[in-house]
């Protein structure tokens, strides 16, 4: 499934709302939280992550993971939280607007 422009940033922020994760973890979480419906390529996810890091919405820090490995963990900053709230409401109004136009699902044969 293709993602709308800018939606990826929102998904990353939303995923990090639950707690800090490393880059690979974020990709996995998006996949599993969408019940495998969204398979975000790491090649697209990583640049997006770097972009929102530069914007100051997430902060990164090297930490030791459960498997005793050094990984870079990303966490939401207060600015990121604010941004997420903004995108959330935008998303909601977008969805409802599209929903109003599309109406209920057409049933086949009618």
């Amino acid at each position: 499934m293709d993602l709308l422009q800018g939606t990826l940033d929102m998904l990353v922020l939303q995923t990090l709302l639950l707690g800090p994760l490393h880059g690979y973890g974020i990709a996995k979480a998006i996949r599993s939280n969408s019940s495998e419906a969204l398979d975000v390529e790491f090649g697209s996810l990583y640049p997006a992550l770097k972009r929102i890091e530069l914007k100051g919405w997430v902060a990164a820090k090297w930490e030791i993971s459960g498997h005793n490995r050094r990984v870079k963990m990303y966490r939401l900053t207060p600015a990121g939280r604010k941004q997420l709230r903004r995108e959330h409401s935008q998303w909601a109004s977008f969805v409802s607007a599209v929903g109003r136009i599309m109406g209920p699902v057409l049933e086949e044969g009618k």
Binding site: Y24, E41, F42, G43, Y46, P47, R51, G56
Partner: protein, 881 residues
């Protein structure tokens, strides 16, 4: 994203660190994921790197780097351009910082926009001085201000260790002044209303931060210290902050004392605090508007209050003078002026000439720009091939224009930065120039945000102004011939360059005419007969402790001192004559209403003099006699010498000698002589009626006199000898200065001198710039025509003919510029009419002479290339083709 964060990403070190981080991160992630699950990591890293990039900023940096490289490749060009820009922009910045300090900058106090100055407007002009009683009643009866405060500048004779010290600028202020203005004390306390209740009862003073540092080394024990101010002991109670220079731009009072101490700090003046007859207006009044009160409302309300107060005062005044004063008051209207930028005599005197000069210097910068545009264009022909290649391999036109503009703006910024140095020195020098002779002017000229902002904006605009035309032209290249030969499009380039030079000549003509007008106006003023000889005369202000009493014991003591001094000086071999007067010819005389015994009233200026004064200034006696030693003795009968204007007005058809006129309230004196008119104060105005009285017979005021010593030419030691004799006169006298009368006259004309000097300087700059511009264009044109000229020579044209051929082109361009410049001059010159004396700004002789001189200069500029062309060896030139 914030700009600084963007900028950070431009740093190579930041990028290196990120690169390293990224590699480690991706490696660690690859280790914990399934092989191949993450996809193409190299591509991911590549795309992440793109996140850092900002095409706009990156290109800008690229452009700047490239521009710097271009400059380094051709340093002679960059240096010439930057230096001429530095001069042009420096002169502009210098003028701006003066205009800014004098006209624009707000006073450094809290809410300066709420401050309001009171003034009166009458047909004679605006005046900001009020009587003490007017102030007191206005303050009591007004309701629009949180308060009205009064202040008055005064020269103080401060003595710290009972030693004689130079005069200090000071001010008298009402008790509420510091609180109303919003001044706090750095150490100690401020003057408060309690310090200004009873006359003579509050000997306390605040000193300025600067004076504290200079005179007391910033020591804290200055608090409570006793100093003598005009012989009266005062206690220092506090120091004002470093940013506080009073409310008058151009002055900086070092010592502040309460109004109630006026008689003490001016022991030899009258008591100005309580007088039944109000004759001295000395207080400036400032108010702070209450919240919600507009200037307009306060203005209307205060006008009514002022009228009421004036009526009350009129009722109390001596009936003899009532009519005169009522007349003066009826004409006067109270005006309120926004006080945010402070009050200033200096501003009134210099703002108009400074604005004129600002405009002139702006024109100079325009000419600089024109020249550099032409230079850039000339250099552009050398770069045509480079640019054509870049266009050919796909550089966008807008990108190219941006690149070229970056170069010119960078050049302008370089010039602007250098210009700041020029400006700082220049503006200091200007203030110094403005201060000659008169009381010193102190302006805060430290370059602030406003000056830097002005220079930055000017650099940007200048860069665009001179860079845009060449950039547009270059980017419109026709590629094929440009790449092949490197010489395309030169016909239109020449047309452009020539029109730029024509504009330059036109603007230069305007500046030259302006300069010639100012200089000849100054010459006329210099040649005015002021009625006195100004050469070989020394002037010394004598300010001993004096007395207010006509003929009192103190006045007698002064008389003995003065006569002693005059005798001693006259015995010096180099001295022709020495004389004393209450006021010298370069200051304004006091005036009062005089009457003749038959009841006619005249406004007459007056001063007291000693015998020999007229002789010392070379003022001829027209009728009767000068004062003699019997007239100045105590108890002598009252006598006066009058000037010819007074004689003509008061006694039109009679011999004035022996006539009686009033001198003072009830006294009557005999006219004993008539002298030629002296134009006091301003040489521009014709003399008014004046009378002279002996020292002991006139109110002596502060008792101070001005000594005039006329000496023989080439007596070098005269200044030292006079200094010695004056210093020996009286131990109570503070330091004094010896000046020449000629210098004092110069100081009177300082405005005119400033205009003449700077406009000549700017005019000279403009002429040389225009000459350089013409030279460049003509020599380029000649080089383009080299083949044609060689052919002509080969066919037998004489060198003179060729010379004339090229010179004709120069004359054509200059002539066109002049033809365009004359109407511009005619339209703009009325703006300076007010500064001219005895000249019309459209004086045809001056315009023609200026045009001729400019044409001559143009021909000189064109001569060198013309001469070169006439010497061309046709064989060499034609073989090259």
């Amino acid at each position: 994203m914030r700009f600084w964060q963007r900028l950070k990403t431009m740093l190579p070190s930041w990028r290196r660190a990120q690169e390293q981080e990224m590699r480690e991160e991706l490696e660690s992630l690859a280790a914990i994921s399934e092989p191949g699950e993450l996809g193409n990591l190299t591509r991911a890293a590549e795309e992440a790197r793109a996140v850092w990039g900002s095409p706009w900023l990156e290109q800008l940096l690229q452009d700047v780097r490239f521009a710097l490289r271009t400059m380094r490749k051709n340093p002679a060009f960059a240096l010439t351009a930057a230096l001429s820009l530095a001069l042009g922009m420096g002169a502009n910045t210098a003028m701006f910082s003066l205009v800014d300090a004098l006209l624009l900058r707000s006073l450094p106090v809290a809410n300066p926009e709420k401050l309001v100055f009171l003034g009166t407007e009458s047909p004679r002009g605006t005046d900001h001085n009020f009587y003490f009683e007017t102030y007191e009643r206005l303050q009591r009866e007004q309701s629009f201000f949180t308060g009205l405060a009064a202040f008055s500048p005064v020269q103080l004779n401060v003595s710290v260790n009972s030693e004689t010290e130079p005069f200090v600028e000071g001010q008298l202020v009402s008790g509420n002044y510091m609180g109303l203005v919003g001044v706090t004390a750095v150490i100690g306390r401020t003057l408060a209303p309690g310090d200004d209740r009873l006359p003579g009862a509050h000997p306390v003073a605040m000193i300025s931060y600067g004076y504290w540092q200079r005179r007391f080394g910033g020591s804290r024990d200055v608090l409570g210290r006793k100093v003598l101010i005009d012989g009266y002991p005062f206690t220092i109670i506090g120091v004002t902050p470093p940013w506080f220079f009073g409310l008058e731009v151009g002055r900086s009072p070092d010592v502040t004392v309460p109004l109630m101490m006026q008689p003490q700090v001016m022991p030899d003046a009258e008591n100005w605090l309580r007088r039944p007859v109000n004759t001295v207006d000395w207080l400036r009044i400032v108010g702070r508007l209450k919240a919600g009160v507009t200037l307009r409302r306060a203005s209307n309300g205060m006008g009514i209050t002022f009228g009421r107060v004036q009526k009350q005062l009129a009722a109390e005044i001596d009936p003899e003078w009532r009519d005169t004063w009522l007349r003066a008051w009826a004409e006067a209207r109270l005006v309120l002026e926004p006080g945010g930028i402070g009050l200033s005599d200096v501003r009134r005197q210099f703002s108009a000439p400074l604005l004129v000069l600002f405009a002139l210097v702006g024109v100079v910068l325009l000419i600089v720009c024109a020249n550099i545009a032409n230079l850039l264009l000339a250099r552009a022909s050398a770069r045509q091939r480079e640019i054509a290649v870049r266009l050919a391999i796909g550089a966008g036109r807008s990108r190219l224009i941006r690149q070229l503009l970056t170069e010119s703006i960078l050049l302008a910024c370089l010039g602007g930065a250098l210009g700041l140095v020029v400006a700082y020195t220049g503006s200091q020098g200007l203030v110094h120039f403005l201060s000659i002779g008169r009381s010193s002017i102190s302006l805060d000229l430290r370059p602030g945000v406003d000056v830097f902002g002005f220079t930055a904006l000017m650099s940007l605009l200048t860069g665009i102004l001179f860079g845009l035309a060449p950039a547009l032209r270059l980017s419109r290249l026709d590629l094929t011939p440009a790449i092949k030969e490197g010489g395309g499009g030169s016909g239109s380039r020449q047309r452009f360059a020539k029109s730029v030079v024509v504009v330059e000549v036109a603007l230069t003509l305007v500046l030259v005419i302006g300069a010639v007008l100012f200089v000849s106006s100054l010459r006329r003023l210099d040649n005015i007969d002021g009625g006195f000889q100004r050469d070989h005369v020394l002037v010394v202000q004598l300010r001993p402790k004096g007395s207010d009493q006509k003929g009192g014991p103190n006045a007698m003591r002064l008389q003995r001192l003065y006569l002693d001094l005059q005798r001693k000086l006259q015995s010096l071999p180099g001295v022709i004559a020495a004389g004393l007067a209450g006021t010298g010819p370069t200051s304004a005389l006091q005036s009062r209403v005089q009457r003749t015994p038959d009841g006619r009233q005249f406004r007459v200026a007056w001063t007291q003099v000693y015998p020999g004064y007229f002789n010392s200034l070379g003022v001829p006696l027209l009728q009767g006699r000068d004062f003699d030693r019997f007239d100045i003795a105590p108890g002598a009968s009252y006598v006066a010498v009058i000037n010819e204007t007074f004689a003509r007005l008061a006694f039109p058809d009679e011999n004035p000698i022996g006539k009686k006129i009033s001198c003072g309230r009830t006294l009557v004196c005999d006219v004993i002589g008539v002298v030629k008119d002296i134009r006091y104060s301003s040489l521009r105005e014709p003399a008014t009626s004046a009378m002279y009285q002996p020292f002991l017979q006139a109110p002596t005021g502060r008792g101070q006199m001005v000594l005039h010593v006329r000496f023989k030419a080439n007596s070098d030691s005269i200044v030292a000898e006079v200094r010695k004799d004056v210093a020996a006169l009286d131990t109570d006298m503070p330091a004094f200065e010896i000046r020449t009368l000629a210098a004092e006259v110069d100081a009177v004309l300082v405005r005119e001198r400033l205009l003449a000097l700077l406009s000549s300087l700017f005019g000279a700059m403009a002429v040389s710039l225009a000459m350089i511009g013409l030279y460049g264009v003509i020599s380029y044109a000649a080089s383009r025509r080299a083949k044609e000229i060689a052919l002509r020579i080969a066919l037998g044209a004489s060198p003179q003919r060729v010379l004339w051929l090229v010179l004709r082109e120069t004359a054509g361009l200059a002539g066109l510029g002049i033809i365009i410049g004359i109407p511009i001059t005619l339209v703009t010159s009325h703006l300076i009419a007010a500064f001219l004396y005895g000249l019309k700004p459209t004086d045809p002789v001056i315009i023609c002479a200026s045009a001729l001189v400019l044409m001559l200069m143009a021909l000189i500029a064109g001569y060198l290339p013309a001469w070169g062309a006439s010497r061309v060896d046709p064989v060499v030139a034609l073989r090259n083709e």
